[in-house]
Protein backbone atom coordinates (compact mmCIF):
# COMPACT_ATOMS: atom_id res chain seq x y z
CA UNK A 1 0.00 0.00 0.00
CA UNK A 2 1.31 3.50 -0.81
CA UNK A 3 2.21 5.81 2.05
CA UNK A 4 -0.03 8.90 2.30
CA UNK A 5 1.80 12.22 1.91
CA UNK A 6 0.30 13.49 5.12
CA UNK A 7 1.77 10.63 7.18
CA UNK A 8 4.99 12.34 8.26
CA UNK A 9 3.40 15.71 9.18
CA UNK A 10 0.69 13.83 11.08
CA UNK A 11 3.34 11.79 12.88
CA UNK A 12 5.13 14.99 13.92
CA UNK A 13 1.89 16.52 15.25
CA UNK A 14 0.99 13.35 17.13
CA UNK A 15 4.45 13.02 18.68
CA UNK A 16 4.35 16.62 19.84
CA UNK A 17 0.89 16.22 21.40
CA UNK A 18 1.56 12.84 23.02
CA UNK A 19 4.90 13.82 24.54
CA UNK A 20 3.73 17.24 25.74
CA UNK A 21 0.36 16.18 27.15
CA UNK A 22 1.13 12.75 28.59
CA UNK A 23 4.90 12.55 29.08
CA UNK A 24 5.61 16.22 29.85
CA UNK A 25 8.55 16.60 27.45
CA UNK A 26 9.16 18.04 23.98
CA UNK A 27 10.57 16.39 20.87
CA UNK A 28 11.97 17.73 17.62
CA UNK A 29 12.31 15.71 14.42
CA UNK A 30 15.98 15.15 13.55
CA UNK A 31 18.08 13.25 11.05
CA UNK A 32 18.17 9.57 11.83
CA UNK A 33 20.55 8.48 14.59
CA UNK A 34 19.75 4.94 15.59
CA UNK A 35 19.60 4.50 19.33
CA UNK A 36 21.40 1.38 20.48
CA UNK A 37 20.80 -0.01 24.03
CA UNK A 38 17.15 1.15 23.79
CA UNK A 39 13.72 -0.39 24.17
CA UNK A 40 11.19 -0.93 21.37
CA UNK A 41 7.47 -1.71 21.31
CA UNK A 42 5.26 -2.64 18.36
CA UNK A 43 1.54 -2.39 17.60
CA UNK A 44 -0.03 -4.12 14.62
CA UNK A 45 -3.12 -2.59 13.05
CA UNK A 46 -5.62 -4.42 10.94
CA UNK A 47 -8.32 -3.00 8.67
CA UNK A 48 -8.04 -0.29 6.05
CA UNK A 49 -5.12 0.41 6.37
CA UNK A 50 -3.18 -2.53 7.84
CA UNK A 51 0.42 -2.62 8.98
CA UNK A 52 2.54 -2.12 12.06
CA UNK A 53 4.11 0.73 14.01
CA UNK A 54 7.24 0.39 16.14
CA UNK A 55 8.42 2.96 18.67
CA UNK A 56 12.05 2.87 19.79
CA UNK A 57 13.33 4.83 22.78
CA UNK A 58 16.81 5.28 24.13
CA UNK A 59 17.17 3.88 27.65
CA UNK A 60 17.65 7.39 29.08
CA UNK A 61 14.47 8.73 27.48
CA UNK A 62 12.48 5.61 28.44
CA UNK A 63 13.41 6.14 32.09
CA UNK A 64 12.71 9.90 32.03
CA UNK A 65 9.43 9.52 30.11
CA UNK A 66 8.27 6.77 32.47
CA UNK A 67 9.11 8.91 35.49
CA UNK A 68 7.17 11.82 33.96
CA UNK A 69 4.20 9.60 33.11
CA UNK A 70 4.02 8.06 36.58
CA UNK A 71 5.18 11.13 38.55
CA UNK A 72 7.98 9.12 40.11
CA UNK A 73 11.73 9.70 40.44
CA UNK A 74 13.90 8.14 37.73
CA UNK A 75 15.38 5.72 40.26
CA UNK A 76 11.94 4.42 41.23
CA UNK A 77 10.93 3.28 37.73
CA UNK A 78 11.06 -0.52 37.41
CA UNK A 79 12.03 -2.55 34.35
CA UNK A 80 8.46 -3.79 34.08
CA UNK A 81 7.11 -0.22 34.09
CA UNK A 82 9.61 0.74 31.36
CA UNK A 83 8.23 -2.01 29.13
CA UNK A 84 4.60 -1.18 29.93
CA UNK A 85 5.17 2.49 29.16
CA UNK A 86 6.98 1.76 25.89
CA UNK A 87 3.97 -0.38 24.93
CA UNK A 88 1.51 2.31 26.01
CA UNK A 89 3.44 4.95 24.06
CA UNK A 90 3.37 2.81 20.90
CA UNK A 91 -0.35 2.20 21.39
CA UNK A 92 -1.19 5.89 21.86
CA UNK A 93 0.96 7.05 18.94
CA UNK A 94 -0.44 4.39 16.61
CA UNK A 95 -4.07 5.06 17.56
CA UNK A 96 -3.69 8.82 17.26
CA UNK A 97 -1.95 8.69 13.86
CA UNK A 98 -4.56 6.32 12.40
CA UNK A 99 -7.48 8.27 13.86
CA UNK A 100 -6.17 11.55 12.42
CA UNK A 101 -5.28 10.11 9.01
CA UNK A 102 -8.36 7.91 8.67
CA UNK A 103 -11.14 9.28 10.92
CA UNK A 104 -13.79 7.28 9.10
CA UNK A 105 -11.89 3.99 9.02
CA UNK A 106 -12.48 0.84 11.03
CA UNK A 107 -9.07 -0.28 12.21
CA UNK A 108 -8.34 -2.70 15.03
CA UNK A 109 -5.13 -2.46 17.07
CA UNK A 110 -3.43 -5.55 18.46
CA UNK A 111 -2.18 -5.43 22.05
CA UNK A 112 1.23 -3.69 22.03
CA UNK A 113 4.29 -5.87 22.65
CA UNK A 114 8.00 -5.46 23.26
CA UNK A 115 9.77 -6.03 19.93
CA UNK A 116 13.04 -5.71 18.09
CA UNK A 117 13.96 -2.25 16.81
CA UNK A 118 12.93 -1.63 13.21
CA UNK A 119 15.46 0.53 11.37
CA UNK A 120 14.47 -0.49 7.85
CA UNK A 121 10.78 0.46 7.67
CA UNK A 122 9.74 2.61 4.68
CA UNK A 123 8.56 5.35 7.03
CA UNK A 124 11.04 6.05 9.80
CA UNK A 125 11.50 9.29 11.71
CA UNK A 126 13.81 10.08 14.62
CA UNK A 127 13.02 12.67 17.29
CA UNK A 128 15.33 14.27 19.82
CA UNK A 129 14.33 15.29 23.31
CA UNK A 130 16.40 16.75 26.11
CA UNK A 131 16.44 13.27 27.68
CA UNK A 132 17.36 11.18 24.64
CA UNK A 133 16.25 9.82 21.28
CA UNK A 134 12.99 8.38 20.08
CA UNK A 135 12.15 6.87 16.67
CA UNK A 136 8.89 5.84 15.05
CA UNK A 137 8.78 3.32 12.20
CA UNK A 138 5.68 2.43 10.19
CA UNK A 139 5.09 -0.38 7.71
CA UNK A 140 1.89 -0.46 5.68
CA UNK A 141 0.74 -3.77 4.18
Amino acid sequence: MSVPESLLPTMHDVLRDVLEQMFFCEALPVQCRHCQNGIAARVRFDGEPSGELTVMLSRELAVAASAGFLAEDNEEVTASQLEQIACELANIICGAILSRLHPNARVGLSPPEIAAADFTAPVHQCFETSEGMLAVAIRMN
Binding site: E20, Q21, M22, Q84, E88, C94, S99, P103, N104, V107
Partner: protein, 128 residues
Protein backbone atom coordinates in the same frame (compact mmCIF):
# COMPACT_ATOMS: atom_id res chain seq x y z
CA UNK B 1 -17.04 10.77 44.95
CA UNK B 2 -15.69 7.33 44.04
CA UNK B 3 -14.16 6.97 40.59
CA UNK B 4 -13.66 3.57 38.95
CA UNK B 5 -10.79 3.36 36.44
CA UNK B 6 -11.05 0.34 34.12
CA UNK B 7 -7.94 -0.36 32.04
CA UNK B 8 -5.79 -3.45 31.50
CA UNK B 9 -2.62 -1.34 31.69
CA UNK B 10 -1.51 -0.70 35.30
CA UNK B 11 0.62 2.28 34.23
CA UNK B 12 -2.33 3.81 32.38
CA UNK B 13 -4.54 3.43 35.48
CA UNK B 14 -1.85 5.20 37.52
CA UNK B 15 -1.63 7.97 34.90
CA UNK B 16 -5.41 8.52 34.78
CA UNK B 17 -5.57 8.71 38.57
CA UNK B 18 -2.72 11.22 38.54
CA UNK B 19 -4.30 13.38 35.80
CA UNK B 20 -7.66 13.31 37.60
CA UNK B 21 -5.90 14.75 40.65
CA UNK B 22 -4.18 17.38 38.48
CA UNK B 23 -7.58 18.18 36.96
CA UNK B 24 -8.98 19.07 40.35
CA UNK B 25 -10.44 15.77 41.53
CA UNK B 26 -7.89 15.23 44.30
CA UNK B 27 -10.56 14.55 46.91
CA UNK B 28 -12.08 11.65 45.02
CA UNK B 29 -11.54 8.02 46.01
CA UNK B 30 -10.21 5.80 43.27
CA UNK B 31 -10.80 2.12 42.64
CA UNK B 32 -9.28 0.21 39.74
CA UNK B 33 -10.19 -2.74 37.54
CA UNK B 34 -8.14 -4.46 34.84
CA UNK B 35 -11.11 -5.47 32.66
CA UNK B 36 -14.87 -5.10 32.31
CA UNK B 37 -15.65 -8.15 34.51
CA UNK B 38 -13.76 -6.71 37.43
CA UNK B 39 -15.24 -3.28 36.69
CA UNK B 40 -18.76 -4.71 36.79
CA UNK B 41 -18.12 -6.23 40.21
CA UNK B 42 -17.07 -2.81 41.50
CA UNK B 43 -20.13 -0.98 40.16
CA UNK B 44 -22.41 -3.73 41.49
CA UNK B 45 -20.96 -3.07 44.93
CA UNK B 46 -22.95 0.17 44.76
CA UNK B 47 -20.29 2.71 45.64
CA UNK B 48 -19.12 4.02 42.25
CA UNK B 49 -20.11 7.53 41.14
CA UNK B 50 -18.11 7.79 37.90
CA UNK B 51 -16.58 5.26 35.50
CA UNK B 52 -13.57 5.92 33.26
CA UNK B 53 -13.04 2.97 30.93
CA UNK B 54 -10.69 1.86 28.20
CA UNK B 55 -12.05 -0.14 25.24
CA UNK B 56 -9.49 -2.78 24.29
CA UNK B 57 -9.22 -5.13 27.26
CA UNK B 58 -9.17 -8.90 27.74
CA UNK B 59 -12.09 -10.95 29.16
CA UNK B 60 -14.70 -8.19 28.87
CA UNK B 61 -13.86 -5.21 26.70
CA UNK B 62 -15.15 -1.66 27.06
CA UNK B 63 -18.04 -2.16 24.65
CA UNK B 64 -19.30 -5.24 26.52
CA UNK B 65 -18.79 -3.46 29.84
CA UNK B 66 -20.88 -0.46 28.74
CA UNK B 67 -23.54 -2.82 27.34
CA UNK B 68 -23.75 -4.53 30.74
CA UNK B 69 -24.06 -1.20 32.53
CA UNK B 70 -26.69 0.03 30.12
CA UNK B 71 -28.71 -3.19 30.42
CA UNK B 72 -29.23 -2.59 34.13
CA UNK B 73 -31.89 -0.12 35.29
CA UNK B 74 -29.77 0.63 38.35
CA UNK B 75 -26.30 0.81 36.81
CA UNK B 76 -27.14 2.79 33.68
CA UNK B 77 -27.45 5.96 35.75
CA UNK B 78 -23.74 5.87 36.65
CA UNK B 79 -21.95 8.25 34.25
CA UNK B 80 -19.30 6.46 32.18
CA UNK B 81 -16.59 8.09 30.10
CA UNK B 82 -14.47 6.28 27.53
CA UNK B 83 -10.71 6.92 27.38
CA UNK B 84 -9.20 5.40 24.24
CA UNK B 85 -6.51 5.69 21.61
CA UNK B 86 -9.19 5.02 18.98
CA UNK B 87 -10.74 8.33 17.95
CA UNK B 88 -12.38 7.14 14.74
CA UNK B 89 -15.91 8.46 14.24
CA UNK B 90 -17.49 5.03 14.01
CA UNK B 91 -15.97 3.87 17.29
CA UNK B 92 -16.93 7.05 19.12
CA UNK B 93 -20.50 6.86 17.82
CA UNK B 94 -20.77 3.20 18.89
CA UNK B 95 -19.56 3.91 22.41
CA UNK B 96 -21.90 6.89 22.80
CA UNK B 97 -24.77 4.74 21.52
CA UNK B 98 -23.93 2.20 24.24
CA UNK B 99 -24.46 4.85 26.87
CA UNK B 100 -21.09 6.58 27.29
CA UNK B 101 -21.53 10.17 28.53
CA UNK B 102 -18.28 11.31 26.94
CA UNK B 103 -15.25 10.21 24.97
CA UNK B 104 -11.67 11.22 25.64
CA UNK B 105 -9.14 10.44 22.93
CA UNK B 106 -5.51 9.88 23.90
CA UNK B 107 -3.44 11.99 24.09
CA UNK B 108 -5.39 14.24 26.43
CA UNK B 109 -4.60 17.08 28.81
CA UNK B 110 -5.81 17.41 32.42
CA UNK B 111 -8.04 20.27 31.23
CA UNK B 112 -9.72 18.12 28.58
CA UNK B 113 -10.33 15.38 31.13
CA UNK B 114 -11.74 17.87 33.66
CA UNK B 115 -14.13 19.33 31.08
CA UNK B 116 -15.46 15.90 30.08
CA UNK B 117 -15.81 14.73 33.68
CA UNK B 118 -17.64 17.90 34.72
CA UNK B 119 -19.95 17.59 31.75
CA UNK B 120 -20.64 13.92 32.50
CA UNK B 121 -21.40 14.73 36.11
CA UNK B 122 -23.75 17.50 34.99
CA UNK B 123 -21.67 20.43 36.20
CA UNK B 124 -20.14 21.62 32.95
CA UNK B 125 -21.34 23.40 29.87
CA UNK B 126 -23.65 21.43 27.65
CA UNK B 127 -22.15 20.80 24.23
CA UNK B 128 -23.84 19.52 21.16
Amino acid sequence: MTVLIVDDSPVMRTFVRRVMRLAGFGDAEYVEASDGCEGLRHVQSGRVDLVLTDINMPNMNGEEFLESLHASDVLRSIPALVISTDATRDRMARMMALGARGYIAKPFSPEALRDEVERALGGGDERS
